[in-house]
């Protein structure tokens, strides 16, 4: 059973956003890492890139699958998780702890369209 954490925002393409002030930490959910299996590579954007909601901002590769990362919110990338460059498998260890990018949110209203923990849990169960 995949882990879901209270207080985060979730997208239908299995990204999460953890919001601290106007900063969003974006990563993939535990459900997503399970589905992908052993992650071997994370393709991340550059710092200072602007990302638009619903656009692809990177990709995650496992041996037998690849999944594009779809931006759940818009914003400017202020940091990427460099640990994932050397150790992409961290996503399998703890997907929530190991966020992928940190963005400065450009429109907090976008968060309203995302699911909360309960809704996401139900969504995954479907």
């Amino acid at each position: 059973m995949a882990k879901v954490i209270e207080g985060l925002y979730y997208s239908e393409s299995h990204e999460f956003v953890k919001v601290v002030g106007n900063i969003g930490y974006i990563g993939i959910t535990d459900y997503a890492q399970h589905a992908l299996g052993n992650v071997v590579y994370v393709d991340m954007p550059d710092v200072d890139d602007d990302i638009e909601i619903d656009d692809d901002f990177g990709a995650i590769e496992s041996v037998k699958a690849a999944s594009d990362l779809k931006a759940p919110v818009s914003g400017k990338v202020i940091e990427v998780n460099e640990n994932l460059e050397d150790e992409p498998g961290l996503l399998n260890k703890d997907a929530y702890e190991n966020w992928i990018i940190k963005v400065e949110l450009s429109d907090t209203a976008e968060l309203k369209n995302l699911m909360d923990a309960k809704a996401y849990e139900e969504f995954c169960a479907e």
Partner: protein
Amino acid sequence: MIHKFLPHTSEDIQQMLERVGIKNLNELYAEVPESIRFKGDYDLPDTMSELEIRKFFEKLGQKNNKLTCFAGGGVYDHYAPSVINHLLSRSEFLTSYTPYQAEISQGTLHYIFEFQSMMAELTGMDIANASMYEGTTATAEAMMVAFDNAKKADTVLYSETLCKDIIGVLKTYAHFHGIKLEAIKAVDGVTSHADLEARMQEGGVAGVIVQQPNRYGIIEDFTGFADTCHDKKALFIINSVTADLALLKTPKEWNADIAVGDIQSLGLPMGFGGPYAGYMCSTEKLMRKLPGRIVGKTVDSRGQRVFALTLQAREQHIRRQKATSNICSNQSLMALYATIYMSIMGKEGLKEAAQISYDAAHYLCEQLLNSKRVKLVYDKPFFNEFLVHVEDRDKFFNKAIQQGILPGIKVDDDKLLIAVTEKRTKEEIDTLVGLL
């Protein structure tokens, strides 16, 4: 009458039909609408026995003229050690599929790893893929890597000194893939750095493609080219004639991001245009953008060092429309050909063959110029191929053909592009000169 490729006896057929629960072979196609069933005969000759096949192709072969080859233009008549065909005919190599089942494909996986290693050595680049179809399409694939690698830039520049076969393929791929393709001018037979710089200033360039030696056989000086590209975040792509890299400054030394080309010059038969194989090598940074198969080292459950297809998440069977390319094969057997060639010739042999080609071409060029009936079109350094004006070119050309010599490739109305390899003897060269 039973055919040698079809082992089904009437007894076999009967037993199998019974097991399937149908009465005759026709019922196997019961769901195919009557309107589209094929009832006629194909427009083909009758079955031929092996003896008849041999005769048939011997006769057809006689309609071709085997010529002593001084033609190049991307395809060169280099020497092939006898070991290659001997080993290539091992049917374990010849009749196997793409090495999906690594446990029973280590033969293929080993030589592809060796091929990648050798191509990386020759080009100086960090990595190589398992080979491409051939040189022109490999160049087009490199163009698409540059395009897809750029975030916003939509233009790729190519030098006018690329072989025209390559330019034609680039234009086709660019048109359909939505890439703006623009030429960099050539001045005195070489790519104009000034024109490149001017064009880069306008912005929007994802990649720049040049060729070495170029379409006229000239060795270009790419000093400063990579910086001009990299200043504007464009990839610098060099298409090189593989065999010449034994001596020539490598794509890496010119600071290229991608090295591509055809491996035909590694002793592959000219074969009227194919099969050859292309190569693509790159910096490590572009590893996950490369098209095609890639083999990597790993371990097996018994702790042994083994090789396997890897980085497959780039490929079409996983990424479908988002794959880096639609290519799902490599020219494995041709890669094996080149790998054995490079193993036989080795570090010294490759250099020696390249040096003899270089010397022989320069010797021929000197002899031709001495005749005063031939002039170099461009007075530039060349490798083993050069472009000349020839007086009464067509007369000379036809005379040579009649003597069983292909004296080069005709360019425009009065020029000839002549190539020489280590296979040409002094006698053959002197005969050609004597025809002037």
